[in-house]
């Protein structure tokens, strides 16, 4: 058993499962948006109407949280593979975490138009 405290969950299965589940959410969201762009006339009115519906705001928030979790698992793996020195590795991990946190909060602000 190798111990680690900077990955998303404490367990390898947890990280693995979260990455797969969030990948499905992101794929669904992407497909939906692509479908929307292909099959409806995209202009300010239709776009605003889509984002004014609660279910789509929830779906978007879910996609945002999914990006956060998915990117954390992925970038944590990349940093532990390629950056061997503890200080720069932790700094980059913290920077990634901060960026994702900002994106999620900013996304909520945009979605609910605070």
């Amino acid at each position: 058993m190798v111990s680690s405290v900077t990955n998303l969950g404490r367990s390898g299965v947890f990280d693995w499962l979260i990455q797969r589940v969030t990948a499905y959410v992101l794929a669904l969201y992407t497909l939906f948006l692509l479908g929307f762009m292909v099959f409806s006339d995209v202009n300010y009115e239709t776009w605003a109407a889509l984002f004014s519906q609660t279910w789509f705001r929830i779906f978007t928030l879910l996609a945002l949280l999914s990006i956060g979790a998915h990117a954390w698992v992925g970038l944590w793996t990349v940093t532990t593979d390629y950056i061997k020195a503890m200080a720069p590795r932790f700094l980059i991990q913290a920077l990634c975490g901060l960026t994702m946190f900002v994106y999620v909060i900013w996304g909520i602000q945009i979605l609910w138009g605070l």
Binding site: V2, D15, W16
Partner: protein, 234 residues
């Protein structure tokens, strides 16, 4: 034929270098790479490499031949030689002791971690612990591993984290005991593997499968371990 050899003797060389050697290959014969190394050693006895059974059973002569890991004793020249040239290097990712001889300590340390022995604390029967033919069949494709390290040293995940990621060879052995009907330590074995490095560093690129000289499939075994972990945790 031109053979390019990785040479390094820490007592005399400050850095490793490649040495080009011209070797006369007997006409009409498809020699194994090990035979060619033996021809070279007849001329230059300072050339160091491991070999023992010379028939793909002991796993001593794992090396990198024209960029691909394999056992020199069962790899015919016709299969690896490109443009009449053969480049021989030690297994990648492990510290070199001398020439083609690598230090396998990290590899064995990972092997040791998976408890590569049967654990069963129940009283031993008079003769032996029996298995049904079906249960025995589950070990096929797992027990044949000869620990030559060709797979683990072809795996980038093992190159980057050889101290934390168990590697394809160790994981194949881990599943060999997880799948054994006579073993009673499955829960303990799985608990030891459930961290983000030991199993989950595998990214499924299957280098291990493409180089295994025994034709085994560590990626499939890793998939089985992942399923066992998932079943236990969800």
């Amino acid at each position: 034929m031109l053979v390019s050899l990785y040479r390094y003797n820490p007592e005399t060389d400050s850095a490793p270098y490649m040495q080009d050697v011209e070797v006369d290959i007997p006409e009409g014969k498809d020699l194994m790479v090990l035979d060619v190394l033996n021809l070279i050693k007849e001329r230059d006895s300072s050339m160091a490499y491991r070999r023992s059974c010379r028939e793909g059973v002991c796993g001593s002569d794992g090396m990198n031949m024209n960029g691909t890991n394999g056992l020199a004793c069962i790899t015919p020249m016709s299969q690896v030689v490109k443009k009449n040239k053969l480049v021989l290097r030690p297994l990648p990712g492990l510290p070199v002791i001398r020439d083609l001889v690598v230090d396998m300590s990290l590899f064995y340390k990972q092997y040791e971690k998976v408890m590569p022995y049967l654990v069963n604390d129940t009283p031993a029967p008079a003769i032996e612990r029996l298995q049904t033919p079906e249960d025995r069949e589950k070990l096929d494709g797992l027990y044949e591993c000869i620990l030559c390290a060709c797979c683990s040293t072809a795996c980038p995940s093992f190159w980057w984290n050889p101290d934390k990621f168990i590697g394809p060879s160790g994981l194949l052995q881990a599943y060999r005991f997880l799948a054994d009907s006579r073993d009673t330590a499955q829960a303990e074995r799985l608990s030891n593997l459930d961290d983000p490095f030991s199993v989950f560093r595998c990214r499924g690129i299957m280098n291990c499968v493409s180089v295994c000289p025994k034709g085994l499939n560590p990626t499939k075994a890793i998939g089985h371990i992942r399923n066992l972990l998932l079943q236990r945790a969800t």
